[in-house]
Every structure is written in C-alpha cells, then in structure tokens.
Amino acid sequence: MEEYAFFPGCIAKNVYPGIEKATRIVFEKLGIGLRDYEYSCCPPPGVLACYDKPSWLVMGARNLSQSEKDGLNPMTVCSGCYGTLHNVWYALKNDPDLMGFVNDHLGRIDAEYKGKVHPIHFVDILKNYKEKIAELKEIDLGLNVAVHYGCHYLKPSSVTGENSERPTLLDELVGLAGCKAVPFKDGLTCCGAGGGVMSGEPDVSLKIINTKLNNMKDANVDAIVNICSFCHMQFDQSQKKLKTTEIPVLHLNQLFGLAFGIRPKHLALHTHLVSTRDLEKKLKDLKKGGE
Amino acid sequence: MEDEVRKRIAEMLDSGEVTAVIALKDVLGMTTPCVFKKGDDLSSLRLSPHYPLATLAMKMHKMDPEYKIAILCRGCDERALLEMAKRNQIDMDKLSIIGIACDEETAKDCNCSVPYPSCEDLIGEKLEELELGDAFEDYKRMSTAEKLEFWKKQFEKCNKCYGCRNICQMCFCKDCELENELWLKKGRLPPDFPVYHLIRAFHLAGKCVGCGECESACPAGIPLMTINRLLRDDMKELFDYVVGNTEEVNPLYTKEEF
C-alpha cells in the first residue's frame, strides 16, 4: 500500500478539523495509508522565517526528520506548510553547510535529517488517482467553483517546478467531483494572509482578500475550493469580518468528501463561519434527484 | 565443469567451427595459457587459477584476422574484449566465446558484481544478485590528507617491475608512456610519487574492466584495485557508464557535453 506521513499542520487540526477529517476519509477510500508522527508547527514562512530564518530551518528540518527512519514522505494539506517544508528541504539539499548547521542543532535532541525524505503536497498524490476518484464519486456536485492554489504550492517555480502562470491541476481535480472551475479576474493572486500580513497589517490583508472575494463573486461561483488550510482560514474568517460576500469555503478534500457521499456534518462544514447551508441544501436536492 | 568445457571445445574443434581455442592448461603443475587445436589432448585443461586471455586473443587476431578462434571467457574477459573492440583492437564478430560463470568464492575474491559473460550457453551457474558490500568503506572514511598519506606509503613499495601493466588486458599500446623518460627517469626507485601510478590510473579511467589481475600481479602488494574500482564507481556515478557493459562510447572520449 502506498503510504505517507500525514502532516496536518496547525490549522487543519486545531482550527478547521473538518479538513483533517476529510483528508483521512478521502485517503482511506483511495486506499492510501497515512501515518501520524510527533510533528510541530511547520513553522510558517511569514512569521517565523521572517523573524529568525535559522530557527525556521531547524524546526522545519526537525519535522522532515520525523518519518525518515520509516522512509515515508510527509504529506501536507496546506500550501503554507508545503512551502515551508519544501523550501527547507530544497535549501538543505543544495547546501551541505546549512545541512551541517541544522544537524548540529538536531543533534542536541538526538535527531538527524539526512535529506532522504521530501515533502509532498496532497494534490500531487491525488493527481495520480483520478480514475479511482471518479469511481468513488457518488454525487455529481455540479457546482461552479473558484479554485485557489495558495502561493507557496506554485511559487517560486524554480523551486516547486510548477507552472505558476497557467496551472490546470485544480480545474481537472474539481472536475472529478462534477464541478466546474470558473475563471475569474486575477485568479492566481494571493489571499493576502501570508507573510505575517494577516496578523501584522490586518487592513492591507483585508483589502487584498476583499478584492479577491469580489472578483469571485462577479464570476457567480457557488463555492471557493482551496488546497491550503491557511488560505481556507483567511477566506472563511475574513468574509465574516468584511460582510460583503458570502461564498462558502471548501477544502478540496471536503469537496471530494461531499462527492463521495459523506454527510456535511462529518466534514464539519457547519463549523465554518460562512454558512454552507445553501450549498448543503443544493446537495440534498441533488441526492433526491439522483434517487 | 571442466568436463563440460572439454566437451564444448572438442565439439567446436571437431566440427571445424573454429581452428583454435584459447584456454588454460596444466603444465608440470602450473596453470598456463595455451592454444588447443583439433586432436589435442584436452585432459590437461584447467579453469583455475584464472588468467586473462583476452590479450592473447587480440594478439592472435592481429596476426591473422581470418583465423577462427574461440576463447574461454569469464565476465571480466568479455568486458575486456568489448572494450578492445570499441578501440578497434579486435573484431568480436570473428571470435567465438565459451562463456564460463565464476563461482561465489572467486567472484567475492575479485569483488566482482557481474562474474559472468552475457552469452547464452553459459557453463556454470550465473550469480546474479551477489551481495558484495562496500569493500572500500574504510578507505572512503579517510580524509583527503589521510588518503594522500596512505598512497604515499603504498607507492613507496613500488619497485617499478611493470607487472601491473604487463598483465593488464587494457594495456595494448606499442610504446608505453610509462617508459617515456619524459615522465619517468630510468633507474629511479621508487618511481617519483605519484607519477607512475597516476598515469596508469588516468589511462584506465573508463577503461578498467575490474579483472583484478594487476593487484594479484603486484609483488609489493599495492592495493591497485582500490584505485581502479573507485574509478569504475566514479564513471558510474558521474556519467552513468559501466565500463565493459555497453556498446556505448566511453563518455570521456566524446565531444558531446553532459
């Protein structure tokens, strides 16, 4: 069985546990094993890397080292966590001196990172399971959605290797749940939360997300589908503050959960600040129509 | 196994497939390279200790390219023949091969991961997944300075007998650079560090087939295979090229960039 070390990240376990739940369900159904480890916060590139980069590297490397003895690659459900772990992995891989520095610190707690395992974003696993996902789908959700990647999954492309200007993966993946990714203005811009701006400069952060939400609204979408818990939090919480839009926010795994026929409550949709009631009603009607 | 080889040789000679077979035989209790022809007594044939026969085949081939020869051939012999063919020294199409697989003991002794030739009708059991381990682990752990010290000590033992070169299957130049006064002054012992051995190492990069004969030939016990084996490993790591395993051109001999 294909197996990964599950790196849920703080938001998915401590703020939006529906994401953790949805992930566990989706991966179980796909027959992909997830193993838990004693992980800490990734730590985030905004606050920690900007505050003290060497500490950020060491903490990131500690996380990476956890599953190394089992040879499992850590899988993230958040583009932020992915950005940190991936950047740490990349920096260490290309700089033996830095690797030495990190391991000097890890050595103090009898840990070591050899660079043998590397982080992987969960969508990069799902893209190999398109057929299985289509098989498992019970409901064609039929939603028009706005997809959001999260900057650190795509960029910098010299490190991620992704097509940062014209990505298509999420269009394809939401299509598997019977949804349509609707193009909208500035579809790839930042959610405004990263870099410590959400906490440090809340006004700027809200302005950025407000523009983004209005662009989504103009495109008449039924929901926002993201692959980043941190952006997820920004989309959900800021709408509550701004009160100008009310677009339900779904993590991709929650979307697949719904398509696989999981009840919304089990995916903790009811705990989102932006109500998903209309969405749920639509699904109920769909289900009835289906029967 | 020897009987099987005898049978094969007799068949080949009797049928006229080949005129001569290069093999080893016992002469007064010593195993020596020899040539068997039709009607020769094959009872003296021996398979061990092994001895490189490719050079002999090359020399015979050069004397008369049309002369039909078969050669007793281990994995290392075949690799040597292949590398010779790449260097225009022998025509493999005009050579018959009697492939013999080495047993585990011999293979381990030679630290050889491919102790058999690639031909189909192999005599003996093919050892495909031999666990060799890293014989040079201790060496690799040394620092650069320690390595230098190590080699200084080893090369001091050299008495310039040329045994390593004389036995080497891949040394087929008419005039050897190791006898050029420009690099090595006559009558100086040991030869200037590290000229003799480094010239040989350079010449064998991408060429050494790992037969191990140089090390067994060395009367001073210099671990020559440590150099040559590491060179083979480097070729694999840097260029993904295994000497003697492919028909590919040696990556050190091309104009293309990597």
Partner: protein, 161 residues
C-alpha cells in the same frame, strides 16, 4: 548567521535589478498599500535605511514578483532576509507582539495556532480524537522540542529567555 544588506543583495542577485518595475506591477499587496518592491531593492542598493521602512512588512510572500523578475532577482527571498535583519537591529514596526504570542504558543504546545476547547469539542463530534497526535502528545517529546528551541535564537527574540 545574520547577513548584512550587502550580503543579502549579493545572495539575492539584487545587483542585477534593472528597475523595470515588473515586480511592483505584479504585487497584489502594492495595489492596496505603499509597498513598492522595486523601490525596496533600490533603497537597499543605495545604502538607504530599507530595514526601517514599514512597507517591508506589507509583503505577503506570495512570490509573484520573484516569479516575474526577468533578471532572476530573488525579491521575495530578499524581503524575508531583510526582515530578519530588521528584527536583529530592532526595527519591527507593526506586529511586535504577534510573533511573541505565536512563539510562546509554539514553545508551550508545538503549535502556532493552539487548540481551543471549542474546536476540541468539534473534533470529538466529527469522530476525530479530541487532540491531534503531535509533538505535544508525548510529554517527553515536547520537552525535547523545547530543548531544541532553547538553543535557537527564536526563543530569545520571542522574549522567552
């Protein structure tokens, strides 16, 4: 370990900048505030007090500028490095308390965003363990983790020691 502005410019290829402005034109944050990535690089190169500017903290690290740069200037990476330098030099204009709170939480629980009793309840309802399996699950591991942090600058800068 800390880099000077000059080292940051060298490592980030900042001297290659031709001030074309594609970075600022691409910047989603600059549209809403006074952040001008191009200007930050120019200031750094001219030896001006770039680390004292408040704009330095308006970048969301979305990497669009770095992505679009025709001269391979690592603009975002440089901003992150410049922020490190600013913290070291004591210029930390806006969110002085926020990182300290996060660092404290990180030290105590291993999580930047700690678990609240409400979410813990939700976790149980949807069939997850009340608390996720992580560095704080095992007291011994948490202690080790804290020992790791004790040896890092972050706890000092976060006011924990």
């Amino acid at each position: 370990m800390g880099k000077s502005v000059k080292e940051i410019l060298i490592d980030g290829n900042g001297y290659a900048c031709i001030q074309c402005g594609r970075c600022t034109g691409s910047c989603p944050s600059g549209r809403e505030c006074s952040l001008r990535t191009r200007k930050l690089i120019h200031m750094a190169r001219m030896g001006m007090d770039v680390i004292k500017t408040e704009e330095l903290w308006d970048c969301t690290t979305c990497f669009t500028c770095q992505e679009r740069c025709p001269k391979e200037v690592k603009t975002t990476d440089m901003i992150i490095e410049l922020r490190n330098l600013a913290v070291e030099e004591g210029y930390f204009p806006t969110m002085s308390d926020v990182p300290k709170i996060i660092i404290k939480s990180l030290y105590d629980t291993g999580a930047g965003q700690p678990l609240s009793p409400e979410v813990s309840k939700i976790r149980a309802i949807i069939g997850l363990k009340k608390e996720a399996y992580d560095v704080s699950t095992n007291a011994e591991t948490l202690k080790k983790f804290q020992r790791l942090l004790d040896g890092l600058e972050i706890t000092k800068k976060g006011g924990l020691r």
